[in-house]
């Protein structure tokens, strides 16, 4: 089924078409959300909201851009909104981030069960540092970097999603990588 057919069928209320649409794009959406959130459970929750938004707004979709482009935009906006809400309550954030890092740590330890405990802790520490470095990038740099690295999208596709020029995206991704390197270097220099 093509994207155009998906749009027409979902507009008609065809549940089977919507199921196929979700199956086709669920990994794309979850991966994008996970790039921002760094927590799979939260990313899946946001993905559900993204698909609900698609279902609700498909009648307003003017088909000026590709369906996937529109889907990426919703996923990025929803993820950024989630992070904004998350930042609003600082006390809650500190408690949740404590749990989140523990979750990530546990996942990392499970994945690498052959490592020594010290190595596991060091590894989870490195994961945290990387996430922190990505999160500290400016919003546009972060969006372009995540779409490029997590979704392997071309610069042209990212430019369409971000509604900007190709050269702007090239510059954003280049600066994002340099800033990321600087932040990681500062950390490794300290340690």
């Amino acid at each position: 089924m093509t994207d155009r057919e998906f749009v027409l069928e979902i507009r008609k209320g065809n549940q089977q078409a919507f199921r196929m649409f979700v199956e086709k794009y669920q990994l794309t959406v979850i991966k994008t959300c996970n790039g921002f959130i760094h927590n799979l459970e939260d990313a899946e929750d946001i993905a559900q909201e993204v698909f609900l938004e698609v279902y609700k707004s498909i009648h307003n979709f003017r088909e000026e851009s590709k369906l996937s482009t529109w889907l990426y935009r919703i996923a990025v906006n929803r993820s950024l909104n989630h992070l904004r809400k998350y930042k609003l309550n600082k006390n809650l954030k500190s408690i949740e981030s404590l749990f989140m890092t523990n979750k990530n740590m546990i996942n990392e330890i499970r994945d690498n069960s052959n490592l020594l405990p010290d190595d596991k802790i060091e590894q989870s520490e490195k994961v945290k540092i990387l996430y922190r470095a990505i999160d500290s990038l400016s919003t546009n740099q972060r969006i372009s970097f995540i779409l490029n690295k997590y979704e392997d999208l071309s610069y042209k596709e990212i430019a369409e999603i971000m509604n900007t020029s190709l050269s702007a995206v090239e510059s954003l991704i280049h600066r994002a990588k340099i800033n990321l390197q600087k932040k990681l270097f500062n950390y490794y220099k300290k340690n």
């Binding site: 199956e23 790039g35 993905a47 490195k126 994961v127 990387l130 340099i178």
Partner: protein, 152 residues
């Protein structure tokens, strides 16, 4: 000195996006510089973390969860529609009628309050005093009479 010059390209080297010449130059430097080599290893590991994070399996329950959310959304939308049709619409109509009655009463009060009893009496007296003005035919006759007298 060489470290400073090549440092900005290390992340591009780690992800393998450099030209072969640049790549050879950095490879040569890394064979001599232990610190840069360690940092490149760290960068490569960081990029590996991203690659690992990308490997997500599809969730078979995601669609049913989305479907639940859609059902909840439609139910709440229907509830609102029913609420709007069965309750809000009659309430709005009643409010509109009350508003009309109230504004009618207000307008009526404001009109009658303009003229007091004294004002209406004065109007009647003025009417009697100036009743000739309202009987234009008689006035014409009077004026004709006075004209005839003048001629005579």
């Amino acid at each position: 000195m060489k470290c400073n010059k090549l440092h900005k390209d290390l992340i591009f080297f780690a992800e393998g996006s450099l030209t072969p010449e640049k790549k050879n130059e950095i490879n040569y430097h890394l064979s001599e510089c232990n610190a840069c080599r360690k940092f490149v290893d760290e960068l490569a590991y960081s990029l590996e973390i991203i690659d690992k994070e990308k490997k997500i399996e599809t969730n078979p329950f995601l669609f049913s969860r989305i479907l639940n959310k859609i059902n909840n959304y439609e139910q709440s939308a229907n509830t609102f529609r029913v609420f709007a049709l069965k309750i809000l619409r009659p309430v709005f109509v009643i409010l509109l009628i009350l508003c009309g009655i109230f504004s009618g009463i207000k307008l009526g009060n404001s009109y009658s309050s303009k003229y007091t009893d004294e004002d209406s009496e004065l109007q009647i007296i003025t009417y009697y005093l100036n009743d000739l003005q309202h009987e234009s035919v008689e006035t014409i006759l009077l004026s004709e009479e006075s004209e005839i007298e003048n001629i005579n």
